[in-house]
């Protein structure tokens, strides 16, 4: 009998350590593995493939004597069976820091393939896969890699953006806590492809478990990726450092202020050297692409959104967690069929897609397919594909105010529209909420949003208008 329990942050926060201790106290060995991503069932106990959850320590005796109700085979659960797991193929199955488990599940094959085919062919493979940056901007990864490869310079860097600050996103965290070697392999492939010998993973300080796992994994894998070297750097609580140029400044030991572009980081990035800045999910997709081929990856997806996207279903939802699927699935399927509707049982009023800078979308638009272009056409963002579900108790005027407040708290202060606009926006929203000069103030918010959208240096100021204006547009009754 093999008992598997996740040791990722969600499982631990829900009591997995206590459950594991209870099994051990009963004389049963426990393997701590990555999470399946069915977070409403955590702590999930996997006994030879059969699931129990959510489990508390006092239920362990019943599970062992066979009287506890089971969930059946985990792999057959509709939440798992309906996914296309490429990046998360090992989720729930392997021990995060076991090199044996990683070898036994296609580990290091991508890096071996890259070394065998050579640098340019590796870039061509990533190009053929159609992989686009998973951090939010959706820029083609292959083109970025090609630019860095062709840039002049002895010293080049690979920077992994693991500053996953958007609410409702946790896929980066799950990769780092559950499958850290995959990310390291992806970075090593990128380093090989563009001629960089040094990589940094910039992880936010709110993720202590991810930091610990990555540091341990880097030590274990150092000899396999040499001469490439990876180092973890820890953020310090600034949301804006998820923006790539701000992240680079932070890595250099400076204030995390945004840089004007150009120059592009691909040409003048970390310490002024050519640098690939890619999101965790982008780099984590690379080993699969190298192992199975660019065309195999491009066979998934819709339109110009190729491959799979690890979607994060969160907020007030019954079945929240990590759902990796090819692009093109609709919001309605994600919220109602897969997510099972709201956790509160009340009607869903809206979802926010893409974190605090993403638009609020009403059920009338739940037919939208998850695809970069379809979302852009509807004035919305895919972003890092986090979906927050709200029920009908949400006050959208408060959410619009919060979007501006968040921008004010997190603005780096470099550009005026963001630094001042956010604070003026909060004040104006307060007037609206108090019922003062509502129409005139709403017009002012629209004008301010326009200025922020087109006048800000980066997405923090530039995209804060998305949640604000979408809330006003779709839920006008909350503002008047």
């Amino acid at each position: 009998m093999t008992v598997r329990i996740s040791d990722d942050a969600v499982a631990i926060a829900c009591g997995a350590d206590e459950v594991a201790a209870a099994f051990i106290a009963a004389g049963v060995a426990v393997e701590r593995v990555s999470s399946w991503g069915m977070q409403w069932l955590e702590p999930l106990v996997d006994i030879d493939g059969v699931g129990y959850g959510p489990v508390s320590a006092d239920q362990v005796a019943d599970i062992l004597n066979g009287t506890a109700p089971s969930l059946g085979r985990i792999a057959d659960h509709p939440f798992i069976a309906n996914q296309t797991r490429l990046t998360f193929s090992r989720a729930g199955k392997t021990r995060p820091l076991s090199l044996d488990d990683y070898y036994a599940s296609e580990g290091w094959l991508g890096l071996a393939k890259a070394r065998e085919m050579g640098a340019q062919a590796t870039i061509n493979t990533v190009m053929a896969s159609g992989l686009r940056g998973r951090g939010g901007a959706g820029f083609p990864a292959g083109i970025k890699w090609q630019t860095v490869a062709r840039a002049d310079g002895e010293q080049k860097y690979i920077v992994c953006n693991a500053d996953e600050g958007d609410s409702a996103t946790f896929a980066d965290r799950m990769v780092m806590e559950g499958d850290p070697f995959m990310l390291i392999e992806g970075m090593a492939i990128a380093g090989f492809a563009v001629g960089a010998n040094k990589g940094y993973v910039y992880i936010r300080s709110e993720y202590p478990h991810a930091i610990a796992k990555m540091e341990a994994a880097i030590k274990l894998a150092a000899h396999l990726i040499a001469p490439f070297v990876v180092e973890v750097r820890v953020g310090a609580g600034a949301y804006v450092c998820g923006e790539e140029t701000s992240l680079l400044n932070s890595l250099e030991g400076k204030r995390g202020e945004v840089r004007a572009k150009p120059p592009l980081p691909a040409l003048e990035g970390l310490f002024g050297k050519p640098t690939i800045v890619n999101n965790v999910l982008t780099l984590a997709a690379v080993p699969w692409i190298l192992t199975h081929g660019g065309d195999a990856y491009a066979a998934f997806g819709a339109g110009r959104s190729k491959g799979t996207m690890p979607i994060q279903i969160a907020g007030n939802v019954k079945h929240g967690g990590l759902f990796e699927v090819a692009f093109g699935i609709t919001l309605g399927e994600l919220v109602n069929d897969i997510g099972g509707g709201t956790a509160s049982g009340r009607p869903a009023r809206c979802v926010q897609v893409g974190g605090p800078l993403g638009a609020y979308i009403p059920p009338a638009q739940f037919h939208l397919p998850l695809d970069y272009e379809a979302f852009a056409a509807a004035d919305a963002l895919v972003g890092h594909a986090g979906i927050t579900v709200f029920d009908d108790t949400v006050d959208m005027a408060q959410m619009a105010r919060f979007a501006l407040e968040f921008c004010a708290v997190e603005s780096c202060g470099k550009c005026t529209p963001c630094r001042l606009g956010s604070t003026r926006g909060v004040e104006t929203m307060d007037q609206i909420i108090a019922g003062k000069n509502v129409e005139a103030n709403l017009a002012l918010i629209a004008d301010l949003s326009e200025t922020m959208k087109f006048g800000s240096l980066c997405a923090l100021g530039g995209f804060t208008p998305y949640p604000v204006m979408s809330a006003i547009k779709h839920f006008p009754e909350d503002f008047r």
């Binding site: 926060a13 609410s167 310090a236 600034a238 250099e252 907020g315 780096c412």
Partner: protein
């Protein structure tokens, strides 16, 4: 006991060492003092203003020690959708624990969530939140 000089020596070969140094100073002393900033600036050949600018930019660094235990409570959208704001009256009626807002712990399907030190907590309701505060 670790000294600032020890911490500086440990990071001297790093590229862009300031953030790792500040993290270690904060960990060892609970905050980054004026004296610490002066010593760091001198060793890294930076101005005090530059070091101060970095310390004051990031939410994680404190210029003064916090005597109370600190609980970071997530108040971002997903935790709001799951009812974190309803916990605030409990936080506000006590002063023994400093309850700080944090924006996202990546536990967005099992919120409201919180972190104290490196320990994380999820599915907080009134009762769990109260006992968490009392246990700190």
């Amino acid at each position: 006991m670790t000294s600032i000089a020890d911490i500086l020596a440990e990071h001297k070969d790093k590229e862009g060492p300031l953030l790792p140094i500040l993290h270690d100073v904060q960990k060892a002393f609970g905050h980054v003092s004026e004296d610490a900033m002066r010593e760091i600036a001198q060793t890294l050949n930076l101005t005090r203003a530059e070091v101060y600018g970095v310390v004051s930019f990031y939410h994680d660094f404190r210029k003064e020690a916090e005597a109370r235990p600190v609980l970071k409570l997530c108040r971002a959208e997903a935790c709001k959708a799951r009812g974190v704001e309803a916990l605030m009256p409990i936080a506000d009626t006590q002063s023994r624990v400093k309850v700080e807002a944090i924006y996202c712990l990546g536990l967005c399907a099992v919120g409201p969530s919180a972190m104290a030190g490196d320990k994380v907590y999820a599915r907080l309701d009134d009762a769990k939140f109260k006992s968490l505060l009392e246990a700190m």
